[in-house]
């Protein structure tokens, strides 16, 4: 009797452990797998490449979505914010304005997308899903109209363009500037979401909007802030993107949307209540980036990468939630 009871407890807590750390376990397993499968995977050069090219921009978009998803909403228009920032900064630089003006203009464009979302959601009471879906459609068409059907805009070399490109190419103490930007933003969003009054309100709205309203929280105002912040963060990615490729390619921002949502939800497995968190999202982004890179190195083509990622997301979520339910 007592032996079997002990056995049970052990099983339950093992399941609980697996459920709680499924992301970390998957992470470790994948790193080991690719290290064995590909000799180049674990080299510093490759990891550096993954960090700069696959992690930073996705992670910044995902930070924004982490805030929105924490509030119980969604932003399908993050790609539009990325594109608008990218488009405006490149257009301004091409027109001869300085880098500072360009960056300010780019962020301003993303801000407008965020304000538009906020108005649709809080003033017109449209659900975040539909409001941001509408903005996504409008944003895509706007770009096609502004670029004669989707022609990229390239920055030719010039003082401002070089200055702008330097964002992507310089480093401080050996750390590339985009990575420094990411670190600053991760710390800032972490403090905002998990330490500030605003973050607490956001979590309350996500957990139970009725309770937030009955507690005297200005739900509409906080929700506006949430959407503006998300768009601004996506705008930062748009600027880094343009700085890296020295151009604006219409509709390129959408590539971030699904990965960022996936990363955020992978991150929710860290929490018992499936709440998004900055650390979780960061782990999710790293996981996705490593899988993409690893599959590429072992020779899978792009389409199979998508299948691989899909299966991975599925396994991590199923392991975490399924085991957790069994543990209860």
């Amino acid at each position: 009797m007592s032996v079997s009871a002990n056995d049970n407890t052990a099983k339950v807590s093992l399941r609980g452990f697996l459920a709680k750390y499924s992301v970390l376990i998957a992470f470790a397993a994948i790193v080991i797998f690719f290290s064995v499968a590909s000799p180049t995977f674990l080299t510093p050069a490759n990891l550096f490449n993954v960090l700069v090219n696959n992690v930073v921009m996705l992670a910044i978009v995902a930070l924004g979505l982490t805030i929105v998803i924490s509030s119980g909403g969604i932003d399908l228009s993050v790609g539009v914010s990325v594109d608008m920032a990218s488009m405006v900064v490149v257009m301004l630089l091409a027109a001869g304005y300085s880098g500072v003006v360009g960056v300010a203009g780019g962020l301003g464009a993303a801000l407008i997308v965020g304000i538009l979302n906020a108005i649709l959601i809080t003033r017109l009471n449209i659900s975040p899903f539909l409001a941001t879906l509408g903005v996504l459609f409008i944003g895509q068409s706007t770009q096609q109209l502004a670029t004669s059907g989707g022609q990229p805009i390239y920055l030719t070399s010039g003082y401002a363009a070089d200055q702008f490109n330097a964002i992507a190419r310089t480093a401080l103490f050996g750390i590339p500037t985009p990575v420094i930007v990411l670190i600053v933003l991760v710390v800032a969003v972490h403090v905002l979401l998990h330490r500030s009054v605003f973050g607490r309100y956001v979590q309350a709205m996500g957990a139970q909007p009725g309770v937030a309203w009955y507690s005297g929280i200005r739900v509409q105002r906080e929700l506006s802030m949430v959407h503006v912040l998300c768009a601004l963060l996506a705008g930062v990615t748009g600027i880094l993107l343009s700085a890296t490729v020295k151009s604006y390619v219409p509709l390129s921002g959408n590539a971030f949307l699904l990965d960022a949502i996936g990363a955020t939800f992978i991150g929710t497995t860290l929490s018992r209540e499936r709440k998004p968190s900055v650390i979780g999202t960061l782990l999710g982004v790293l996981l996705l980036a490593i899988v993409k890179n690893g599959l590429l190195l072992v020779g899978w083509n792009f389409y199979w990468q998508q299948v691989g990622i899909g299966v991975l997301v599925f396994l991590v979520l199923a392991a975490s939630f399924g085991l957790r339910r069994a543990a209860h």
Partner: protein, 508 residues
């Protein structure tokens, strides 16, 4: 005595049902007779709705037998009961709003050929039925949402008749109706009775029972305490049958010195709900507010917290006039609200005890926008101890707490805010008896510390036990103010069902 002669449609005997430790029905009996209207009355929790749900096949009884049309039935389901000709007009289950009258009448029994539904045939037949039964000229293509509540009730009844109902059970059918509509509904029900249909009419309004019913069965504490003829039994006697006298030590004694008025309401008015509402609550005073569903009592409370905006009138807290346009303003102005739906509005189940308690007062525990965990933890721990909230840890999820402790967390949230006025909306619903007593003690302590408390409740014993004074709302107006020996459940029940009023007392 004359049961054999009567044409009994449904006979339920010895029905018992427990929900965990709670005895919902104990050896309850109900006899429904053809060609007669039976009233079913009792206080909240007396077992009226449980016994009806047993008959409807929604709840399975632990023991007892049910005979319908002379046949003993077991294992009733909602579908099998309808087949036996027993139909229910539930209080809240309405019709599909976007259906036409024809579609609504034949919902679940559509007319047509194979998988194809003929809307026109249904609308024609529905119009025929409405005219035949009720002499009503209602275009059957009208959408349900465009009908009045009374017309919707008639459509529901027509649906039952279209399926050859022999027993019709109506749960509080008049709650949302105006006087004229009530009269025409009664006409309909009388005509059905004369056609030999058995009607069961559940209502809190004693005058309606007196006017309409041929017999009335009174329920109390899960059993039927008697069946009488309402035309020969005075209302007061029926009310006395409904009320249990043994209150016990549920309500702790207290004595608090009352100070100046803290909450002053005057001439408050909300179109369609209530008008000319005025009262004061003093520091240290617990004032009860009660009224039947649809009386406007609930809306008064909602206006005081900015959930609804009154059309006129004045609300003052400590002499300062408030705008009360939103809960945001109400909270800033020192009004605390304990909502009836705890899970939707009171506590966030997925957040921790700490996060819930500090939610309305985070600014107190923060510096330049950042929460200072030290001072938050200190305050939260203090409140957990003060209210003896049973939680393993301040960071435990509220979901893991019992109902009573969740309610204490909801109260702690406002204590942390140091609110001046507490508005409580049915605070002891779905809370076990032990926790109820603790909540009553808590109210007493709040009052002792000088808070003004307004308690909306439909539990008359609770009101009498806890309050210094009880205001009764009947059809949108204050129908009475009771205190001292005049404040007893008989008087409150009589006033809230319109049988008696005490308007003079309102000024007190």
């Amino acid at each position: 005595m004359q049961t054999a002669k009567r044409d009994v449609a449904v006979s339920m005997t010895g029905i018992s049902k427990r929900f965990g430790p709670v005895r919902a029905l104990e050896n309850a009996n109900l006899e429904i007779v053809r060609g007669s209207i039976l009233g079913l009355v009792g206080q909240n929790g007396a077992g009226k709705s449980t016994i009806i749900k047993v008959l409807a096949g929604i709840i399975k009884p632990d023991s007892g037998s049910i005979v319908i049309n002379g046949e003993t039935v077991s294992a009733l389901t909602p579908a099998s009961v309808e087949k036996l000709g027993v139909h229910f007009i539930h209080q809240d289950r309405l019709l599909v709003p976007t259906a036409t009258v024809g579609e609504a009448v034949f919902l679940g029994h559509e007319i047509g050929l194979g998988p194809f539904v003929s809307r026109r045939a249904m609308e024609r037949r529905a119009a025929d039925l409405l005219k035949r039964f009720f002499g009503m000229e209602l275009p059957a293509g009208t959408l349900v949402k465009d009908l009045t509540t009374a017309q919707q009730k008639v459509v529901q009844i027509t649906r039952a008749l279209a399926q050859k109902a022999s027993v019709l059970v109506l749960d509080e059918p008049t709650a949302a109706l105006v006087k004229r509509e009530v009269d025409s509904l009664f006409e309909v029900l009388r005509r059905l009775r004369d056609d030999g249909i058995a009607v069961v009419f559940i209502s809190h309004y004693m005058q309606e029972i007196e006017k309409l019913c041929d017999r009335v069965t009174v329920m109390r504490n899960g059993t039927d305490v008697g069946t009488v003829d309402p035309r020969q039994t005075p209302i007061d006697e029926i009310i006395a049958m409904m009320i249990a006298r043994d209150v016990g030590e549920m309500f702790p004694k207290r004595s608090v010195a009352q100070g100046a008025p803290v909450l002053e309401v005057s001439n408050l008015r909300l179109g369609g709900s209530f008008e000319n509402i005025g009262f004061n609550v003093r520091a240290g005073e617990i004032v009860g507010l009660t009224g039947l569903l649809g009386s406007g009592a609930k809306e008064i409370v909602q206006c005081l917290f900015g959930l609804k905006n009154a059309d006129g009138g004045q609300v003052k807290v400590e002499g300062r006039e408030l705008s009360l346009s939103t809960p945001v303003k109400a909270v800033r102005d020192g009004i605390a609200m304990l909502p009836e739906d705890r899970r939707a509005h009171g506590v966030a189940l997925g957040l921790s005890v700490r996060e819930n308690i500090s939610l309305a007062s985070l600014r107190r525990y923060s510096k330049s926008g950042l929460v200072s965990r030290g001072s938050e933890n200190q305050a939260v721990d203090g409140l957990i101890k003060e209210l003896s909230i049973k939680t393993p840890h301040r960071d435990a999820l509220v979901r893991e707490l019992s109902g009573g402790n969740q309610q204490k967390v909801a109260i702690a949230k406002w204590l942390s805010c140091q609110s001046r006025v507490y508005v409580l909306d049915e605070p002891t619903v779905a809370v076990d008896v032990g926790a109820k007593v603790e909540i009553y003690n808590l109210l007493n302590r709040l009052a002792g510390e000088g808070a003004a408390i307004l308690l909306l409740s439909s539990d008359l014993l609770e009101l009498v036990g806890v309050c210094d004074r009880v205001l009764v709302v009947y059809r949108g107006r204050l129908a009475g103010s009771f205190s001292g020996p005049a404040m007893n459940s008989d008087a409150l029940l009589a006033a809230s069902s319109g049988a008696r009023s005490n308007i003079d007392g309102v000024a007190a």
